[in-house]
Symmetry: C2
Subunit: 154 residues, 2 copies
DNA sequence: TAAGATTGATGTTTCAATCTTT
DNA sequence: AAAGATTGAAACATCAATCTTA
């Protein structure tokens, strides 16, 4: 059969699934025990911060975060209710809107980053050497992920 | 600060998140368009199949699949309703039970594997060379994931 | 008391349909 | 009609509490 994967390929996929799951659970647990929101909120906060005060359209967030439109819509709902972002009318496209960070959202992003970065170091950095990381990136993970559509370059 | 990650470490984490998300979404989409259940069902089916008819305790599934106990409980509920697994009383431990594959569950596992393996090949195998895969595994992904607790060896 | 497992309430994601503007 | 975005209903996940047996 032409599209049957080798054992090695299957092992890589299983390991990829597992590594991400283990690391993600550990990192989410760290965030939770620090009393801050989850990673999906962080993703929105950091994307908006990178937009430098211009705000972002929901569909831009959608592409950057690999989320479905209705999920972005509801994620923003919750973050508006929590006071971290606000919606603004979009001047050049009547259908759309612009999402902006609030002061409180900026603060939360900074606060989360302090927790998040320790966690990345603990669960990723301390387990891998520089050589290994560099190789995983250039010929491995990025080939699987493809090129991001949004503004954010990896 | 002692636990601040390097840029490279952060890049690896972002790439890991992204690669898994992209591949997972692609694979789930393939399963859906083939009209079969999602990957979490497959994970249960294949674990049970590996147990060779002995069945598995819910807490064993929990460890093998990295799921919380209540999630396993409800996942099994749904799969029982769909007729793919059945619960049996556990002879040596009155608190527990044994989960077994049904005939129909075995069939579905086989059917899903045909779809799943093409999908793994398309989204992982065709994007990576053998050398790269081998390196990602031994010095990369597996160091992040740690050792699995359950029966299943990667 | 602790381990194995389930349940009610609540929060989040998904599906399909809808609404508005281009 | 297509793009951007939202919404109701249903499926699924999570939290805290509970139940049973070891």
């Amino acid at each position: 059969m032409i599209d049957k994967p080798t054992e090695l390929t299957v092992d890589v996929w299983i390991a990829l699934l597992r590594a991400q799951r283990v690391a993600l659970q550990a990192i989410e647990a760290d965030l939770k025990s620090a009393g801050v929101p989850t990673l999906s909120w962080y993703d929105v906060l950091i994307e908006l911060r990178r937009s430098k005060g211009d705000g972002m359209r929901p569909f831009e967030l959608e592409q950057a975060l690999l989320l479905a439109q209705h999920n972005v819509s509801r994620l923003i709902d919750r973050m508006v209710r929590a006071g971290y972002v606000r919606r603004e009318a979009c001047t050049d496209d009547g259908r759309g809107q612009k999402i902006h960070l609030t002061e409180s959202g900026q603060e939360m992003q900074r606060r989360m980053w302090l927790v998040y970065r320790s966690s990345i170091q603990a669960h990723i950095g301390e387990r891998l050497g520089n050589e290994d990381m560099a190789r995983m990136l250039v010929t491995g993970l990025r080939s699987i992920a493809g090129k991001p559509k949004g503004v954010t370059e990896l």
